[in-house]
Symmetry: C2
Subunit: 411 residues, 2 copies
DNA sequence: GTGAAAGCGCTAACAT
DNA sequence: ATGTTAGCGCTTTCAC
């Protein structure tokens, strides 16, 4: 029975003969490991908890989907929690999530979150937004760079009065986007255009647009802080009888599905949701096919047959041995992290290399304001885990932006 | 220690003194029950699994949120799974969900789903869509009635050429909505207008609208199968230079948040998402405050004090005893179910009365290798459980519909 | 490398 | 009504 367990968990050091015998028996008996018992004993359930402010936000929904798909592929289950933008609710959600001893936690903190509960040895990663003090490992997209790219695009089109509708103060993504905008417009002879801030929602977009349009010299372009805002802006403009992009340009942020389907289609900045999800999961669970077992991961007893049959040789290397079986990831991703460096000093992190053991690398990453100020040494198992990963965004040029009405001016 | 368990689980028959003692100790020790151990022993985890085609669909996101909120309030966690409209994926998701011995399963089946796996003694409820053969307990909104209401409204406005953009064939909600439309227009002297079918998404709306607008005698109103479709229609019309609602009326379905924020705001049919969620949860877990414990449900050790104290009497009737403690629900909701009967024979269910024991009523609903071929005996727990609950929808009149351009004709 | 034994933290039958 | 006793199904030392 000990050996059975070893086989199921893909532990090395089991004679091939025995392993096959166990596998066959398992298959014939239709054996399915009991996650509860496993969890109780191993003090770790195959659950990943996601805490978002509100799953109804299309961006979070997309994130949730990507995470869930990734979980499913690895044989994990995604637990969903809504904090409803309440730090207290978020805190409670985290606490009760912890009770279930999840394999990892992904949280998109509320605007008011200052600290997260101690997670013990449960790895946690912050997504999309940042916590003050960078108190936890974080993966975000490079909002500043994205906003700058959009601003540059607008300026290149000839716009000189570009308004910025930014998200709520204190929300990292909002602040960063604003910073990206200011970085380019601030140095301009005309100075930067009007700035309005507010929640990332449709209503705010409408309200802000009306406000902006009522100005003495209304802007010729509006850079919104989210697609939802941008759509609100779009509608407000349209309602005012303005043509977009002929009379005014509008640019969004996020590239949610809907943004492609407005009229005109929204020029926007794409957040690499899929990559964000992938990086987060990688951080929590290790590189993609941890293949933690010869077969328990795949759900149906069916498909494991196909896969399991010829697998015998596969894990000769030991899917999760103590050696650098997983550095493939490290290499690829350090690249991903650094190529976002196009934007200034901001973000970007202590690059790639992660220790091999999935249980170890996180413990020190948490709370810990920088475990070691500097890590000169570096071979394989050094405890230097990236604290902040910033993924590059992508400008999606569609139809909602054009040169300003009066005529383009080439600088 | 036995008593401790009894207290924690709110079992009756514990002397108040002891109970207090246990509670105090628990509080001081910061005791938190281990859900894994509880689950292993009780063969039931405090998890509820939700399987949706795609959480990215705003309607499902809303459903998920409501369910999650309800779960959280009861001390449960919501596991999210995306079937991506693939019956096979859905099946696997259910299978692996079952491994965790959830307290219940909510599934929005894919269009191609014909059967669900046997869930053993795990209660399962189908939401929003229906399974062929009504093989499982179901709670949906009365789509037919909703579509009829919208159609009637349009006809009342004077429209005679109303097109219907319906969802994909085979999807129950889509079929029902179409039926609701046909029921009113079919008998009309002019007969019903053109019908187009396709996925519930934005793109389909745009495509269909263009198609419809190219007709020799284009419709004066379009009844869409979803808000997403309707928004696509809206954009397509606007792009064609048509004014909505002056030149053409558009009506949506679902009343997602976005529908209020388009310009013009969408007239649509509201699905009682919150009630759907509430009913589903009630079906799975019993009436709202099952308060399965004096305090483990509330997350923080803080709030448990307030609630737990005076609870003592609550469960005198036994929140989930073998008697009809839950027909309060049945009464209220059977009403809800039947007043939707305004639309013909359709939906509506074997009204209210449900068996009291949560473990029993479901077993027979499934195909199930039936433990006992027949269970003649029946006192309160008669196996007559409602198989279908249909909740009434609500027409939300906003700005996207108006009398047809040529002039209204009063019948 | 492989069995055997000892529990993970809790609940449900038991005896009291 | 309370204390005691078995395990739930698995992982993990620990001897072999």
């Amino acid at each position: 029975m000990g050996s059975a367990s070893r086989v199921v968990n893909g532990h090395p050091g089991v004679r091939p003969e025995i392993r096959e015998r166990v596998r066959t028996a398992a298959r014939e008996l239709g054996y399915r490991p009991d996650p509860l018992a496993q969890g109780l004993r191993a003090r770790r359930s195959r659950l990943v908890t996601l805490v978002v402010p509100d799953i109804t936000n299309p961006f979070f929904a997309e994130l949730a989907r990507e995470l869930e798909l990734d979980c499913a592929a690895r044989g994990y289950q995604l637990v969903l929690r809504n904090s409803m933008e309440s730090p207290a609710t978020e805190y409670d959600a985290l606490l009760s999530a912890l009770d279930h001893r999840p394999s990892g936690i992904v949280v998109v903190p509320t605007a008011g979150t200052t600290a997260l509960p101690a997670t013990g040895d449960v790895p946690l990663v912050v997504c999309d937004r940042r916590l003050p003090g960078g108190a936890a490992p974080t993966v975000v997209s490079d909002n500043r760079q994205g906003a700058s790219a959009a601003t540059a695009y607008l300026m290149g089109l000839g716009h000189r009065r570009i308004a910025c509708l930014a998200g709520p103060p204190g929300v990292h993504a909002a602040d960063e986007r604003l910073a990206g905008y200011l970085a380019l417009t601030g140095g301009t002879p005309e100075g930067h255009g009007p700035v309005v801030r507010g929640p990332f929602d449709y209503a705010t977009g409408q309200r802000a647009a009306r406000e902006l349009l009522d100005l003495d010299r209304p802007p010729t372009a509006i850079l919104a802080g989210s697609d939802q805002q941008a759509i609100g802006v779009l509608h407000a403009c349209l309602n005012r009888g303005l043509r977009v992009p002929d009379d005014i340009s509008v640019c969004g942020f996020d590239a949610i599905a809907l943004s492609a389907l407005t009229s005109p289609a929204l020029t926007t900045v794409r957040q690499p949701v899929r990559r964000i999800a992938a990086r987060a999961m990688e951080f929590l669970l290790g590189p993609r096919p941890p293949d933690p077992a010869g077969f328990p991961a795949p759900a149906g007893a069916d498909d494991c047959a196909g896969a399991g049959d010829s697998v015998g040789a596969r894990d000769s290397a030991g899917a999760r041995g103590s050696t650098g079986a997983r550095d493939s990831t490290g290499a690829a991703d350090s690249a991903g992290a650094s190529d976002s460096a196009g934007a200034r000093d901001s973000t970007v992190a202590g690059s790639s290399t992660r220790a091999a053991d999935p249980s170890a690398p996180h413990s020190d990453v948490r709370n810990a304001p920088a475990p070691h100020p500097a890590e000169p040494d570096a071979d394989l198992p050094h405890p230097a885990a990236p604290v902040l990963v910033s993924l590059p965004t992508e400008l999606v040029v569609r139809a909602s932006c054009a040169p300003p009405p009066e005529g383009t001016r080439t600088p």
